[in-house]
Subunit: 290 residues, 2 copies
Amino acid sequence: MTTAERESATLALDGTGLARAIRAEVAATAAELSQRGRTPKLAVVVATDDESSAWYVRSIAKTAAKANIDCEVVDLGADCSPAQVRDALDSLSADDSVHGIILQTPLPAGARFEELASAIAPDKDVDGANPVSLGLLAAGSRAFAPATAAAVLELLDHHEVPLAGRDCVVVGRSNVVGKPAAQLLLRRDATVTICHRHTADLARFTSGADVLVVAVGRPGLIGAAHVREGSVVIDVGTNPTADGGLVGDVDEPAVAGRVAGLSPVPGGVGPVTTALLLRHTAAAAARAST
Amino acid sequence: MTTAERESATLALDGTGLARAIRAEVAATAAELSQRGRTPKLAVVVATDDESSAWYVRSIAKTAAKANIDCEVVDLGADCSPAQVRDALDSLSADDSVHGIILQTPLPAGARFEELASAIAPDKDVDGANPVSLGLLAAGSRAFAPATAAAVLELLDHHEVPLAGRDCVVVGRSNVVGKPAAQLLLRRDATVTICHRHTADLARFTSGADVLVVAVGRPGLIGAAHVREGSVVIDVGTNPTADGGLVGDVDEPAVAGRVAGLSPVPGGVGPVTTALLLRHTAAAAARAST
């Protein structure tokens, strides 16, 4: 087999087409809700002057507008106090015109994300940030999963990757990706291993995985020795490069040809995440209006 | 090495001595709280005529009394409705004289445990039954862990079993044991794998484990081929035998001599669980009185 042939054996698990389909579905739902006088509305609370956060918020607002969803950015500035953030979340939670609420990071010094996020009403918690949502999710009850974790599953399902009884390994244990992704995979009857920085021999676990989900934020973390031949790898990492680009946690050239599928960065999990935030918002609005 | 020598190499991870020490500590705390007019009180809600449940409730009440903790059994009978259970939990949650609340299983037909348990006030949820507690636990916030899951960790700590960076495998994914035990091990920086009935090749995962926690409820599930030499095994299973005894999920004679430590059934996790329920109740009372 030539290198070209081997490389062609790895399917790029594209997320852009999937995201487009989700956005079209959301736009239709949102238009219908609008006609009934209930335009879905997403509120984004920002308490930072971080440039990449601002870029992300602008991208959400633009995508929301195209999907017939109102987006209100509540910019508290980088100098606000944790109490001000909590007050903003409280009043948005109480506001009937708002259906979805997300809290942007980074937060002001001294603020704890989980503590503040607990002020987001669970039925408006479209990014699964409130620990209550994580608990409901773990208990198998209805709750919004963090959009990034949900995007991992959406991408796997879209590309028809079987999960029940399969060996799934998640690298990273954050509350926003690793832990909820593990919960979602467990709900789908996968055997789930969670690895992290204290894992002594990462390759020992990852090289046996049928499905590998990597959400660490370290370029090149996953090389050829870390993956099983014929496995599927979802790369959640988004690491900025010197030239203004973006790379994931997986050394793409190293694993190409060896794995059966790999989600690209950019264009994999990212666009699906934003589309799911909007889907969650439309779903919250649909529930609120019934 | 003779068989006797090999068997003597396996340490029985006794829970009775540990439970006694915890109860003594709790009794002292509770006595002190009583002097301040705040005797810790545990309420046990029963909605079943199941005999083994009744036996367990009597055992809790007896143990509580010895530890200076009041125990109120609210017996609603097996014919009560889910709504009556919820009402009982609501009023106990609002009752200032009650510091801990547990909901016994089995429940009446049509009742969902997680749904009812969500009526237990989180600060009185001494058996971590409310999904909110599971979420707080997963998010690293303060919450009571389910007593059985906490007992697993307590037993491991008591016997000084290192966890950080170790390969820990949990068999069983219930909301009351498997999932929270996995969360607690993850918080302690272990690499954690969760196996269950859909796991294709159980031994593949368990035979590599440094620490194996088994909480399934199937006698003989874990044999010699499932354990790593020198590993530590915590057996959470409690399966009644024909002669009125109790066995765990681990085939004890088969693994004896092979593993470094094994918690016995009975006398391992069980007594520690009850002791921790009381410790949680005393802790809840201490917080309420400050």
